[in-house]
Amino acid sequence: MLVFGTLAMLSLLVEAGEHLQIERLPRNHLRFLATFETAVEQTDSAVFPYQVRQLLARTIADEVDVRLTRGRWRDAWGPLPRTGSAVGGTGAEVQARFPPGSSREAWISLVNDLSSLLCASMNYIDSTRSYNTTQSDGRVAFFGALPTESVCTENLTPFLKLTPCRDQAGVGELIKGHDLAGMDWINLRLVVHRKGAEKLSLLQTIDFVVDVERQMLTQRGGLPGSQRAEDVQCAPDKFYTTDVTCLPLDQPHERRIVLTELFPDGKFLRCPMSSKSDFEVLLPSGDWVPLQDARNATITLNPELSCDANDLFVNRDLVIARSALHGHLSTTFTNASPSSRQVRYVTMLPWFMRPQLQTFAVSGNGTIESTRLIQGKQRNRPFVLDTSLTVAPGGEARLTFDFERTLLRFAEYPPDANRGFDIPAAVVRYTDRNGDIKELRTTGALLPLPTPDFSMPYNVIILTCTCIALIFGSIFNLLIRFPARHVALPGRDS
């Protein structure tokens, strides 16, 4: 109690707050948006995480934005949370803004620091996986993506350590590492802002989607895939229905759950550091309740629920035909709104995936407004394709181009070369019918490259050694053995 009391005193000096919004999605899914904010005026405040302060001491960046995402946001779930601006592509994504004239070294040093801060492989975001642009105010914006990063508990643990009450109390305490294995989609975001020398702010969000039906199956203690007979509803109008024959209806039925069922190990303790509102949890009913009361709050899931429709659907496909070296990337933009949409599509392609601009085309109900290509450089820089296009109302535009797959050098293949190479998600920005700027990511892609048989050098060594042994033996023979002169022995012919 004493500890919490002291912490509560401290919290008056800083702005710290956290809240959790719970929303229903179709087919008995639930969406959780957890937000943690910390802002301080003096940099030596004890509340602001020490690690982040250290990070800021080592970098000149004004703004750092890290997103760790796993899974794919389904179109059926409606628009992305937080207008999509908090969501990254699968894997890790880092954006940072540096003062004018900053060099690449500052960026490389920053991603290395972030790597240790969040226990992720962001140190692999080198110059081949990032690019920079200069903004209108002269600041340099860097963008890097690491689609291979598989977000898991080892990222969540250090992430939660930075929240106001760590994983001891508050909203952060509810989310346990092992829960990640049951989620359908998870997105962690960390934003650090520096305004002037003294004003620091840290924003963290954890957004995730849970399939309640599957979660309940697992938590009932049965086998993960098992289904209780009483949970199966048989189609009523089938003549063949017997004790052993039953056509399942499989419609998720209305279900009432209590939050403790989803967070069985949660303590539901208010975080004493939180100086903002006392009501932390927004229930799907639209009521804000304190965290302690949320423990027993009942959520009614309605399987018939429909969600707000998206204005724009984007689908990207990477097609590798039988040709060994070429591939095809097509992105389909479907405008579901009654007016035309301006879409900006930015995609970063690794240097070994060279776009062939002569094949760049848009078909269907769309027109290209402008296209800009940051030329890639072998083994050095990625290609960045920045396209603005207009999609007609209710129409579908398909942006396509071919690319050439470059052969890598022997040592450039990763240990799992046969898996293929992860291509980062593309960034799509558009203004929706309400005038809000929305952001979304396409799916990533896996690019198979021609891969040598890595056991071949071993075979070559064996073959070469055999040849050398044969040649050496023959030449050795020729050099040191002389033919015996034929001597006619008496009493014999020739």
Partner: protein
Amino acid sequence: MGLAAYVLRPEGRRQIAQILERHRLHIATFLFVVGLLWPLGLADDRVNEPTRISENALMPGQVQTYFGSGDFKALNAFRNEVRLWQAGDRESRLDSIEGILAAAGIATARQHYSVRPRPDVVINGTNIYGILHAPRGDTTESLALLASWTRDRDGVVNEGGVAILLGLARYFKRWGLWSKDLIFIVPEHQEYGSQVWADAYHGETPGGSDSLVRRAGLIQAAVDLEFYGQDNRFDDIDVAYDGPNGQLSNLDLVNSAIHITKHQVGIGATVQHGREEETWKGKVSTLWKALRSSAVGVPTGSHSPLIPYRVDAISLRVKGKSDGMHDDASFGRVVEGIVRSLNNLLEHMHASYFFYLLPNTHRFVSIASYLPAALLMATGQSVLAMGRPTKDSDMLAVGIVLATHALGAAIWQSANRASNVSIAMAYVLQIPALSILLNKQALRSQVDAYRSLALGLLLGMISALNFSLGYVLAAGTIVFAYAPRLPRPAGIVVMLSACPALLHALATKSGENFTYLAAFDWSFYHCWTPPTILAIAMPAWTLAFAVVLS
């Protein structure tokens, strides 16, 4: 003095050449006989090796399978539904499949196609497929499960396969452990439908078929379920692994499937519908079936069309009587076990063999052991060319051989537009023309020599691409070497009975549609056997026949 010194000396080399030239027929005969009989030796356990799993990630049979315990009621109902759909029309069937998959939360898409497998037959069909997105997956890689609706050969409906596929889709949705998306495909026709689907998934939509609207990244592996007919019990499962043109699935996938079938679920397994015997005869018969199927080169099931696109695919075929030991649920558990194994894969399958022959389910022959069979016979043809008399007409002989092969390629190019008779005439008319040209003994010997040289070279190339086709062609063309040495009437009879196109027509039972089917196999199934027969084997046959006649 050592071999090197002997070869390095000019007179040594000349001596070797003389020996080869003098005994070329004996040497060639020896090579032909050894090559021809080589596969018989491959069935011996001292030559072949026990199969093993090379990819450690697969871990076949290491998970408990639960399918069937709570799902058998649904399976029985799906069987009833499948029976009912056969009475209705296509649209209502597709709607029902879509309904069942949608209830499980799986979005579907359709693909219409039309195929013309014979000049007077047009087949229309619609493939339906649904994608179960892996939780926390990013649609970058997937596994495919297929169950075609009807068998192309006789129109029998795959009742068990489709019912089990739908049951599995519903069951797999409840698991949260998938690392790859799962694609459930019901092609309307066993081979036509899956060929069109596989082409479209990889960006090729030949005339008459739709492109696909839903995709799920790279397909890492595919399993096809074949349970045709109305019975719901069976004894054994046959694992089919061959794709077109002798391309095979990775041996790890085949081994995993066999391992799970036999040792986890406890069902008997076979390959090539062979009898699972330990006898030498049984193994030879299984090897021969594998050779024959690869040599013909057309798909052998719904899984085959995916294999050229770097998708390792197998078909599981039930065998046995209606009162067999096992039921739908056991079959489903086999598939569950295989899919769970494949779900573990971190990389595309690459650790094991892509070139192999299976004499039974637990022994295999690697390429190093079987490739010499075809190469020895190809070498035999080349050795025969040693007897060429050196004369001025050398260039003419080379020209004749090249021109005949070029003509063969031209005939192949026009095959899809020409009738059987005109194609046959195009080859047959060459024979008297050539035999008049080859009136001189020297030119005749030279043409014969260059013909066998070219044949030896081409056979070697074919064997490297498709061993089975190379072996069968090399075996079939052995008589070309001996017919000119026989008395003329006997030679003519031998040559007539060894016409490659005729033998191919008999083997594939293509009959009156020979040219159309040859062109169809090439353009639709991307099968190399017809062009190989018409542009490589037939010109060699015409030349050999002309040498016999002149």
